[in-house]
């Protein structure tokens, strides 16, 4: 139970458990028809890793083109398709499912002491839906690509572009339903499947974060679904909804798009924040500072996140008075994020801190997310956004939160729970090295883009004035380092599957139900239903005061 903090020393040799979810059955069919949330998590992980690399290759094309000011490497159409496919793949087929569909799927039932998610069939179905959607996306890419930008602004997307808009939109639409089903499953599971004694305030913060993110998935995603349907109808059948030639309003499209897509950025960050909360406590061997503050701030972000979407449209011709409201709420939504950052930092205070790889990623996350979030304030600031919007400043802002934040959190979580998922430890040294490479490469790639943005370099530009070349070269150089940093984990993680040290049930001496069962866990997660008798993060009796 969570009270029973083990005194097991990590050097103790462990053996793999005889039976676990991975060796329960070996046939391909047993994987493709599985209803085990852990196996579905693995399926998701393989799928989205693939899309991360597809998106990464598109990013490489973009960066290579921008090495020189002239548009020489790629045709302008090719470049436009490259960044569009980069954005689409990375956002819809990688980052949105990243932590929730893999780690969330794997861990939530275990963390609350359940045998599975509430609807295992729907869980499997959601993976299939995702794959079908992703195939549409890939098909769109292979048969010519799309060039509208990941935002699909009308009327470019509905009338003027002559690329595969409908195919891509349908792909995103389908993948969106996968996200809705995942969120639905999480919400019901967290409400109805908790083990005896597992009260709301004994839930790990990871679960709280996913609960908040699920609210967004369920309530936001349908709006983008219908929006994309309307775009496809307008494009395919010439019916008029957004068409300005019929008196339609292209800004309505933006409202409907961002109604989902702003909250979606919190789908992309909240689960990552959940990961960081777990990792920070584990590796400082200390209860989390301000449990309730962090838990409620997740929900606050999810709710307030729905009220700020038009901050993407400050100069788009919306009413100035509406802009006032949306800007104000954008500033308010920053406060719960601030609460989290400070509580994580405070958790380290008087802890017993171990510098393992997951912790390095967590440090990286805290720093880079802070920069990314604070630069979000620049954009939320009305008068300043006028100058910064549609420039590389925005590109830098969102890569800081999405790559510096969520991708790091994803890697953090993968390393942290790798022993649980596979039963083996990753090798510490190469892991630390690649964490360092990612950190350095990342900053080198995106820090210069803040400056470029303030200088006025517009985003989605295939060529640019020569005076900006130096900064762009720096950025491309950073991207190469970053690419190596992302490639390394693929190698050593695969290596560790066979050669990694056997981990044992709880290599990090963490509290939390998932660490009480064997690694890898049995198909039913627990040999007997656990009973929870204390709060999470119970790393010893409460002693100190601040």
């Amino acid at each position: 139970m969570s009270t029973a903090v083990t005194d097991v020393v990590v050097t103790e040799t462990h053996v793999m458990p005889e039976e676990h979810y991975l060796n329960a059955d070996h046939s391909l069919k047993s994987w493709l028809l599985t209803q085990d949330h852990k196996r579905i998590a693995i399926l998701y992980m393989l799928t989205i890793t693939f899309f991360f690399f597809v998106g990464g290759i598109m990013a490489s094309l973009v960066r290579l083109e921008l090495l020189t000011p002239a548009g020489d490497l790629l045709e302008s159409d090719t470049y436009n398709k490259a960044f569009t496919m980069h954005g689409v793949m990375m956002i819809f087929f990688f980052l949105i499912p990243s932590v929730p569909a893999t780690l969330g799927n794997f861990l939530i039932p275990m963390m609350i002491g359940a045998k599975d998610l509430a609807f295992p069939k729907i869980n499997l179905l959601s993976w299939y839906i995702f794959v079908v959607g992703a195939c549409f996306g890939l098909a769109a890419m292979i048969t010519g690509g799309v060039d509208t930008g990941w935002t699909f602004y009308a009327p470019l997307s509905t009338t003027y572009s002559n690329t595969n808009v409908i195919l891509t939109a349908v792909g995103i639409l389908i993948a969106g339903f996968a996200s809705i089903f995942t969120g639905l499953n999480f919400i019901v599971t967290i409400h109805k499947m908790r083990a005896p004694g597992q009260t709301w305030f004994r839930l790990p913060l990871f679960v709280w974060a996913h609960y908040a993110a699920s609210i967004i998935m369920v309530l936001g995603t349908p709006v983008i679904a219908i929006t994309l349907i309307l775009v496809a109808l307008e494009r395919g059948f010439h019916i008029g909804i957004f068409d300005p030639r019929l008196g339609g309003d292209p800004i309505l499209f933006q409202h409907m798009f961002w109604f989902y897509s702003h909250p979606a950025v919190y789908i992309m960050i909240l689960p990552g924040m959940g990961v960081i909360s777990e990792v920070v406590t584990t590796f400082s061997h200390k209860r989390i500072f301000g449990y309730k503050a962090i838990a409620f701030s997740s929900v606050a972000i999810a709710v307030f996140g729905f009220l700020v979407w038009a901050h993407h449209m400050f100069i788009a011709g919306i009413s100035m008075y509406a802009a006032l409201i949306f800007s104000l709420i954008s500033f308010l939504v920053a406060i719960p994020s601030a609460i989290k950052v400070f509580n994580w930092s405070a958790t380290l205070y008087k802890g017993s801190v171990r510098w393992n790889t997951p912790m390095l990623y967590a440090f990286g996350f805290i720093g880079l997310f802070t920069i990314g979030g604070l630069t979000g304030l620049f954009l939320a600031a009305l008068g300043l956004d006028v100058h910064l919007t549609e420039t590389y400043f925005i590109v830098a802002h969102f890569h800081y939160v999405m790559v510096g934040g969520m991708v790091l959190a994803y890697l953090c979580g993968i390393h942290h729970w790798w022993p649980k998922m596979t039963g083996r430890l990753y090798p510490e040294l190469p892991a630390k090295l690649s964490a360092l490479l990612v950190f350095v490469g990342f900053n080198l790639t995106f820090m210069p883009q803040f400056i470029l943005g303030y200088l006025g370099m517009p985003r989605r530009y295939h060529s640019y004035p020569p005076e900006w070349q130096v900064l762009n070269v720096l950025s491309t150089a950073g991207a190469s380092i970053l690419a190596i940093g992302f490639l390394l984990p693929m190698l050593y993680l695969v290596w560790s599957l066979k050669y990694g040290q056997v981990a044992g049930p709880n290599p990090w001496e963490s509290t939390g139900l998932e660490w009480e069962t064997s690694s890898p866990p049995p198909s039913h997660n627990f040999h007997e239903t656990p009973v929870v008798t204390s709060e999470p993060y119970n790393y010893g009796e409460k002693e100190g005061e601040v």
Binding site: S30, Q35, A118, H191, M193, G220, I226, T227, G236, I241
Partner: protein, 314 residues
């Protein structure tokens, strides 16, 4: 298989729905502790699904709200072309089907399987009537060319008959129109100049002497004209958006009903096989929620689409 230790779940296929009737609680899935927990969970799941549906239709209502505000006269005029008789009739039919559905659930709760099946069949009949009426309404719109797209035509002043529509065109049958609409609608790449005599810029423009820099196509100035005939251009501004929304909203609603009809067939089949009893009728109950939701959407669609400005005020 993930559930080795639990033989009863073995035959639950990933997609299909299993047919085994073994054991005391044949529908009790292994990962739930109790039947009650299982029922609670699927109930909540259904409700969460329904609020997802609310937001899905919400996007359409949002577009409707914006454009109704902007094009109130056109919305009023276009709305007047819908038949109140048919709309009211359909509303009553759908409310009736909600009643029969509620009674079906009630029968299931009491374990009266025969009655349950009877009410489901009644619900399906009412649903079919509704969709049939919808087909009639849609085909009327087709005939009058009040279909968004390049053959669109709507001129309330001309007594409903479009001035630009020739007699030959008037005589076109629905399949003809459909074909023309589909090929035109899909085959006409956006931006391609249309045969319309009214393609923009027809008026002579004094001072139109700008020489364009090289690299830009010269001569042509202006946006690609709206594909379609001159009737489309002359139609009352905003009316086409009304009809686009009309078809999108009622179409989405009808799609939900069609899906519902399919589900009802499946429920009937299961009921026939004796799957439901007073102890287990969750699917019936959850489907009932879905059907009532579809009814609620129509309760809003009816006044919003059929009854705009019927009294002829401003």
């Amino acid at each position: 298989m993930a559930t080795r230790t639990d033989p009863e779940v073995h035959d639950v296929g990933a997609h299909g729905h299993h047919a085994g009737d073994e054991g005391h609680h044949p529908r009790h899935l292994h990962h739930f502790d109790t039947m009650d927990q299982q029922k609670d969970a699927s109930g909540l799941g259904m409700w969460v699904f329904l609020i997802q549906e609310v937001m899905f239709f919400g996007g359409l209502f949002c577009a409707y709200l914006v454009y109704r505000n902007r094009f109130f006269p056109a919305f009023g005029a276009a709305s007047a072309t819908l038949s109140i008789e048919l709309g009211t009739f359909n509303t009553v039919v759908l409310i009736g089907s909600s009643l029969t559905m509620a009674l079906a659930v009630n029968a299931a709760q009491r374990g009266l399987v025969k009655r349950l099946m009877g009410f489901i069949i009644a619900t399906m009949i009412l649903g079919t009537v509704f969709l049939g009426v919808k087909v009639v309404e849609y085909s009327q719109k087709f005939e009058k060319r009040e279909i968004p797209g390049q053959n669109f035509c709507f001129e309330p002043q001309g007594g409903g008959r479009c001035a630009g529509v020739s007699e030959a065109q008037e005589k076109e049958t629905i399949p003809d129109l459909l074909k023309r609409y589909m090929t035109g609608g899909l085959g006409h790449p956006p931006g391609e100049p249309s045969d319309s005599a009214l393609a923009h810029g027809a008026a002579s423009i004094p001072g139109e002497t700008v020489t364009t820099p090289e690299g830009h196509s010269s001569g042509e100035e202006g946006p690609p004209p709206l594909p379609g005939g001159s009737e489309r251009q002359r139609s009352m501004p905003g009316s086409e958006i009304y009809f686009s929304l009309y078809f999108a909203m009622t179409g989405m609603h009808a799609l939900h009903m069609i899906i519902g009809m399919g589900l009802m067939l499946w429920l009937l089949y299961n009921a026939h096989k004796g799957m439901y009893s007073a102890a287990y009728y969750t699917p019936i109950e959850n489907f009932g929620l879905y059907w009532h939701f579809v009814d609620i959407v129509w309760i809003y669609l009816f006044p919003l689409l059929y009854l705009i400005n019927r009294h002829g005020g401003h």
